[in-house]
Structures are given as C-alpha cells and as structure tokens.
Symmetry: C2
Subunit: 340 residues, 2 copies
DNA sequence: TTGTAAGCGTTATCAT
DNA sequence: ATGATAACGCTTACAA
C-alpha cells in the first residue's frame, strides 16, 4: 500500500521500536502515567525529546471524537465591536487549550449557512455565533442542535426558544441614555433603530419607551424608525425624522457607525451638532473618540466581556458541567458613558 | 472496552451493515466512483441522505495527513488593516475549501510562540503570519520550517533570508507622499517612523530620502524619529520634532492611528491642523475619514488584496505548484490617495 | 510494571 | 462491480 502520510514526523511507534518496548508503554510514559517505571519513563521522554516527537493531534482528535476547536461565526470583523469580542473569545479559548476556527458571514445568510456547514464537517466541539442582520431562517442552527454541537449565541441573538446566549441588555442603558437627553432639556427625541427582528432592537425600543413613561411623556411612534444600518439607510432615516412636524433635537442611534453616518447627513443639512441636534449612541468603537463630532454619550456594551462570558459558557457545556438541554441566558447590563 | 465516541453520527460502516454490502463499496458509492453499479450507488446515496450521514472529517484529516486548515497569526484584529486583511484571507481560503484557525499575538513574542506551537500541534497545513512589532527572535518559525509547514509572511515580514512573503512596498508611496508635501511648499518635513527592525520602517525611510534627493534637498537625520506606535510614544516623537530649530510644517506618520495621536498632541500645543502643520499617513483605516482632522493624504496599502495574495501563494505551495524551497516574494506597490 | 490488541472512520490496494 | 483488509497514530481495557 502506498504510504499517504510522509511527514517524517516521529511517532510513538517509532520510539517503541527503538527502545524495544511496546507502544502502550511509550504512550503511558509520555503521559506520566504512574504505573510506568522511572527508568523507562526517563528513557522514553529523553528519546522523544531527541527526536523532536510531537503528538499527532489529528489522530487524537479522531480517536477521542473531540477537536478542542470552537467555531466562531460573526458578521463582520471590521466592526470594532466584534474584533473586541473575538479577543475576549480567543483569549479565553486559548487559555483553556482550545483553538478557534473563524468565519465571517458579512451579514449574508447563505454564507452563514455555508460556514456553519463547514464547521460542522470540521467537527468543531461547539460554536459561538452572532447572527447576521438579515438572517430570518434558523435551520442551520437546528442542524447543529441535531448534531449535538452546542451553540452559544452572543450579542446578536435570534429570537428563538431554548438557546444558550450571552447578551447585553440594552434596555437599561437606553433608559439611561434617554434620561440623559431629557435632563438636558430635549423633548423630541428620535431613535434610529435596527431591523425589527433583532432582540437588541426590541430592547432599545423598550428602553426608549420606559424612559418616556418614567417622565410621564407620551410616546410618539413616528420618532422611532427602523433602518438597515447602511449609510444610505441611515440618511433615509434621518430624513424621515427631520421631516416631522415636531422638531427633533436629539437622536439615539443604533451604533457608532450609524451615528457617524447620521452626523454626516446632519452636517449636509447645515445643522450644528450638539446645538441644533445631539446624538447619543451605543459604544461599538473606540475610534469614535477621534471623530469630529463624537456622540454626547454612549451605551457601553462590553464586547470583550461578552466574548469571555460566551466562551466560558460554551466551555462549561463542553465540560459537561451543565446538561446539554439546560439552556442558559446570561444577560449583562449595559451602561451609559458620558463623553465629556 | 468503553466506547469513547458516542456522537451517534452515522458512519459508512453503519450504512454498509444496513445494506449488506461492504464499507469500501459504500465509500466508493459516496464518491461517485465509476466502478459502482448505478443501483447500488442510488441505494447508498439515498440511505446516506435519510440517515443524515456526514463524512467524519477528523478521520479523513488523520488518514490523509492533511487538515485543510490554515493558521493565521497576526498582531491585532482591532486594527482595521488586519481585519481587512483577514477578510481577504478568509474569503480566499473558504472558496478553496480551506478553513482558518485564528491567533492574535497582541504584539507579544511569547504569545506568538505559543500560538505557533499550538497551530503546529493542530497540524495546520500552512500558516500566514504577520509578526509582532517586538518580535526579535524567529526560532518558532524555524520550527515550522523543520516540520515542513509552509509559512507565508505578509505585511509585517521579518528580515530573514529564504521566506515566502507578500508585502506592499511603501517606498514608492512614501516618495509620492513626500513629493506631495514638497509640491505644497513644505520644506521641513518630519517623519514618525516605526521600530527600526521592521522592513516597512526601512522602506518608509528610504522613500523619504529618495524624494528629497529627487528634489535635490539635503536629508536631515533629526527629522526622522522612531516611535513605538503607542500614544505616548507618538507624543514623545512629536515633542522631539516640534522642538527642532527648523520649524516642522508637515509630518509623515507611520499609520492612521499614529496620525490621530499626533493630531491630538498638536492640538494640545495649540497648533492649527492643515495650517501650522499638515499630516500625511498610511491608510490603515476607513474610519479616518470620519475624524475631525483626517490626514491630507494617505498611502494605501491594500490589505484585502495582500490577504488574498498571501493565501493564494500559500495554496499554490500546498498544491505543490511550487517547490517548497522556491521562495517567493510578492511585492505590491503602495499608492498615495489624496483626501480632498 | 509492561505487553497485547481492539477500536476510532476512512481510503486504497489487491483480490475476486 | 464488489469485498476483504491493511493502514493512518493514538488511547485504553484487559491480560500477564
């Protein structure tokens, strides 16, 4: 038979042959097994070092039915929020001897499915997922469930029963944000919200309404518009808000990118930022502090910490600390940060 | 013996048993092998579909001695340059049926080594690497070479003989940048350069000098300062430049982050941007267009394309299109982009 | 303390 | 056109 593998890497078989002992002895010696004599252990370990032996992980993965790899699916790494989140994930994974398989959906549902399929084939032990903003159909995650591959959703979580998730509750932060604007005297506050199926959008809307209610103000549905998070969509949303009879003097935007786009639109309309109109946003990016007109305040969503938490949750599931069907929802609290 | 694997996933063995045929027949039927009868083929494929059979990649990886996985090591995903590069890498890898194992060094040499070690153990087929800015010792890459795992370096490439690399030559872009400033009438042009061991730093310096030489101007060594790319280091560098006898009216900064930090420092010194002092930078980030004082021009480095090119190079090595020892250096040309 | 052998899922060689 | 079987590297139950 033709030898397919020719990496030339030494194996335990090789070591066993040279030392005239059995492979199992070598295996155990390499694992510091107590039943192995000190002399043999030493001989084995020395020869292994000499030969530059390195265990063949692919063999172990195969044999154990485990890959110590977790798949990460998220929309867009170029968004600061996600690149920060992935750092939290990666740091936690690596320090637990897991590696990280990456896939970006670019908010494309078809690609999302393809990536999940690929991760499933690669037999990742589990997945951490933030869904695309256009994803409506969840059958690919259903497939993972059937394959018994646990999934922890984070940040952009689907509105589905029985899932593990880590998210940041935006309602509290939004209440703080609207509170802040009301206290500064704003009475007509617009909101550029995201796609309605996102839980996060619902939370923002809820926070907005709760804050108004607290102040015994009436909620005007026209003041909340759903946008698609593109620059064009944001411009459209701003146009809508600015065309209302009541003059909007402040806007809560879906995230810092939307805020920046909204600022650009406002400037085109000759509005003076922080005078004619004030923006409050959600802190997806540290660079906003460098911009000409950063939002007056931002709701911090703790991406790094969410990444850590999601990974820890997944690891605890993989370690069997929890029943597979004991679905957990970890909700962190968002918090308003003033940009002085 | 205790059964370790209990994933319950159907195997070809299972299919063979149910159909009373041999595993090899099943394997071949699943691969559309020509020697298999149409009937058997159909029966096998149908049952496979029914059972939701999915090939066990870990077994194949093991058996083939190949993982169809490439390791990516880079300093920091939160830098827009790298997140853009990784998109180029990932897109190219996925469309060639490779997956991507991620590791961030955070510019820490020890961590870099640890990640390389881990990737080696995971038996990645090859690596794409951008080294940390403090990395002085390259023995971990030497280990990869010995393990016959090909590496393609990109962007931040080590100054080493016999490596595969993709990079963007900054000299040409830098010449254009300094030209641009000279034509605008600047005569005392500073440069905040990066750590001296980086090839990119050398190219910047060379471009700077070449442009001066072209205009028959004398090169003043005090005008180029090496910084460590932190905000503090940049402030220090600016301080040095501004304290010179000859008044610096323009500065070429190492990248957009350095530019933003330099702008902050200049503002603190009550300098008016684009009047008292003009900045030209290297285009690492799209957000710079949102900032209050974007650099007057930027040298574009084409991160996405570099990522694509690096991946294609690695894949061609893996496909055996090239001799392992036929080292290739692909150099793309940088280009100045004016920010009107 | 050490050895023997089965088994993980797949592919490929050699028979039939 | 199909089957039997070895081999990939490693772990582990069981035997000695």
């Amino acid at each position: 038979m033709r030898k397919v593998v020719s990496s030339g890497q030494p194996t335990i078989k090789e070591i066993a042959k040279r030392l005239n002992i059995s492979v199992s002895t070598v295996s155990r010696a390499l694992h510091d097994h107590h039943s192995i004599g000190l002399r043999t252990k030493a001989r084995v370990q020395q020869l292994a070092a000499e030969l530059g032996y390195e265990r063949n992980q692919t063999a172990i993965f195969f044999q154990q039915g485990k890959t110590f790899t977790i798949g990460i699916l998220l929309p867009e790494l170029s968004e600061a929020f996600f690149s920060s989140a992935i750092s939290g994930i990666e740091d936690t994974a690596y320090s637990n001897n897991y590696t990280v398989l990456l896939g970006q959906s670019h908010d494309d549902e078809a690609r999302e499915k393809q990536i999940i399929q690929s991760m499933k084939q690669h037999r990742v032990d589990g997945c951490i997922v933030s869904i695309g903003k256009n994803t409506r159909n969840y059958e690919h995650f259903e497939m993972l469930r059937q394959a018994k591959i646990p999934v922890v959703f984070f940040d952009r979580i689907p509105d589905l029963p029985n899932i593990h998730s880590v998210s940041c509750n935006l309602e509290s932060g939004t209440v703080q944000a609207v509170d802040f604007l009301l206290k500064k005297g704003h009475r007509v506050i617009g909101m550029i919200n995201g796609p309605e199926q996102l839980v996060a959008s619902k939370e923002r809307a809820a926070g907005y309404m709760r804050a108004l209610h607290k102040h015994r103000l009436k909620y005007d549905p026209e003041l909340i518009v759903s946008a698609d998070l593109t620059a064009a969509g944001t411009a459209e949303a701003m146009k809508q808000l600015l065309s209302l009879k009541r003059k909007v003097t402040a806007v809560v935007t879906f995230n810092d990118y939307v805020a920046m786009d909204a600022v650009q639109y406002a400037l085109k309309q000759k509005l003076e930022i922080n005078k004619d109109i004030t923006f409050v946003s959600y802190a997806n990016t540290p660079v906003s502090s460098y911009t000409a007109y950063p939002p007056a305040a931002s709701v911090e969503q703790f991406p790094y910490e969410q990444g850590q938490a999601a990974t820890n949750m997944l690891l605890s599931i993989l370690n069997g600390d929890h029943d597979f069907n004991d679905y957990q929802q970890l909700i962190m609290e968002s918090q308003l940060v003033l940009h002085t």
